[in-house]
Symmetry: C2
DNA sequence: CGCCGGATTGATATTGGTCAACTACGGTGG
DNA sequence: CCACCGTAGTTGACCAATATCAATCCGGCG
């Protein structure tokens, strides 16, 4: 359904984030920090440790490229900016995206123990990622217990998102799956301050959304038409506007509890 | 689709496993040990530590009961014997099982950090489980690095199984999902020496299998009829016989790589 | 014997997939 | 500035997979 391409990875430079030095292409690590802070208090020392750590290993990857091709050893990541997905293939070409990551997410922590990965990591947009090995992580968290807690939470969050997607694929209708995904993405972006009013980025094609929700791009289109005709959403040029969060989340039976972040964005506007 | 009931939990006694003392109702911890040994070498000390740990906290739970009701705090477990599933509910009654555990599995490690669980744990059969808190786990793994590795692997395995189920629900047909599940269960039971020839337990009802595969019990039945008519399986009275593993796994496009255990059971018979 | 929870079966309704145009639009080269 | 191209979005007709509804059957158990 989607098209692969060779892995394109370029070093972004290993200057730690330096907001105090304008003119330098400093990397904005705030989404990663925001996510980590959702579940554990971070001291200034904790933050500076993680900032140095991420800043030193940030890489730029191009839209469409694979961070990790299937069959190769795994690797942990922090997604500093951009969108990335887990992609799984059946040998007859059927394809399913099994996870979607947005700026600030960490994923596949400890996956470097695996030496033959059955999925691949696909960059949806141009992105900036930082590799995180189990060893480095262990060194970091031994010295910063709060970070250990924060990363443990992020791992749990991953499982939680998996379960909710399983519930969608197993029991929600096509339109419900899409509506649910929109609610989830909006909330997750809100946690990292990447929403503006009731709008956020959603840089997916219909085909990618189909691969994520286990549908066809044709059916995705029809379901979107339904959601639009109900006045629930608008979505053009990679930008999603949620016109009625209450009704959309009721339609999708979206319950933000599983995001474990407290804030229900109903009032966002 | 399934029916709930109040949590029924009874202490099984806290004698560590004592195979050397017949006559006492010793608990057989070998499936848990077997799973842990799949990915890390365990010394005699490691094994005795985990045996003592599990033996002391083993509990008996009854078929149909909930180990953890949705909405309550989470808890980690080792499934010493029996079958357990993760169950998720939509508010209109639609239900999906999002994970299935067999003897020897550990699951939800670190989930005790969560104070409001959006899923529940349902005992499919009478089972014996041992609770594992993050704190206890940390104490244990600090002293036994091999156990730390083994538990890290088990967590990764959980994610891996999730992904494969997502691929099934998103892209495999009903019959393929069932065939795939049969292959997976057989392999997992083989790893803990719970198969005999090409047979193993499969104590599910059609309805539970439907809840796991995102189908209807009626359609499960029709798909089973197909698999049976092709001479691929037999399944009666909770006992599954795989009549042709090669053809079954080809049909399901089952690739055991994701189980990360090396052994392909094609030759089992 | 009668009850009950599954299993089995058939008829029918829905959902979603497939195929095949056709359109809109951004990017590129002339 | 415009012609051309390629990707993605849009639409309709039709088909296949799966759900729904409603009996009926079967085996275990009080």
């Amino acid at each position: 359904m989607s098209e692969g391409s060779a892995s394109e990875v370029n070093d972004v430079g290993n200057h730690p984030a330096q907001p105090s030095r304008p003119g330098i292409t400093a990397i904005d690590l705030s989404p990663v920090i925001a996510n980590l802070r959702l579940h554990a208090p971070l001291s200034a020392a904790d933050r500076s440790a993680i900032e140095t750590f991420l800043g030193e290993s940030a890489l730029r990857v191009r839209a469409g490229s694979e961070l990790i091709p299937a069959g190769e050893p795994g690797m942990g990541f922090a997604l500093v900016d951009g969108w990335v997905a887990h992609e799984m293939l059946l040998d007859d070409g059927r394809m399913q995206l099994t996870a979607l990551f947005v700026p600030g997410d960490t994923f596949d922590l400890n996956a470097d123990l695996i030496d033959e990965c059955e999925y691949s990591l696909r960059a949806i947009t141009d992105s900036i990622v930082a590799k995180i090995s189990t060893l480095q992580l262990r060194r970091l968290t031994d010295r910063h217990p709060h970070l250990r807690d924060a990363f443990a939470w992020e791992r749990l969050q991953q499982l939680s998102n998996n379960r909710e997607l399983l519930l969608s694929l197993g029991r929600r209708s096509g339109a419900e799956r899409i509506a649910h995904l929109f609610c989830e993405v909006f909330c997750r972006l809100q946690h990292v301050r990447r929403t503006r009013g009731n709008e956020c980025d959603l840089p997916l094609t219909h085909g990618q959304l189909a691969d994520l929700t286990g549908m066809t791009s044709v059916h995705v289109h029809r379901s979107l038409t339904l959601l639009r005709s109900q006045g629930l959403i608008e979505w053009r040029h990679g930008r999603l506007k949620i016109r009625d969060f209450e009704r959309l989340s009721a339609f999708a039976r979206f319950d933000p509890t599983y995001l474990h972040a407290g804030t229900n964005p109903s009032g966002a506007s």
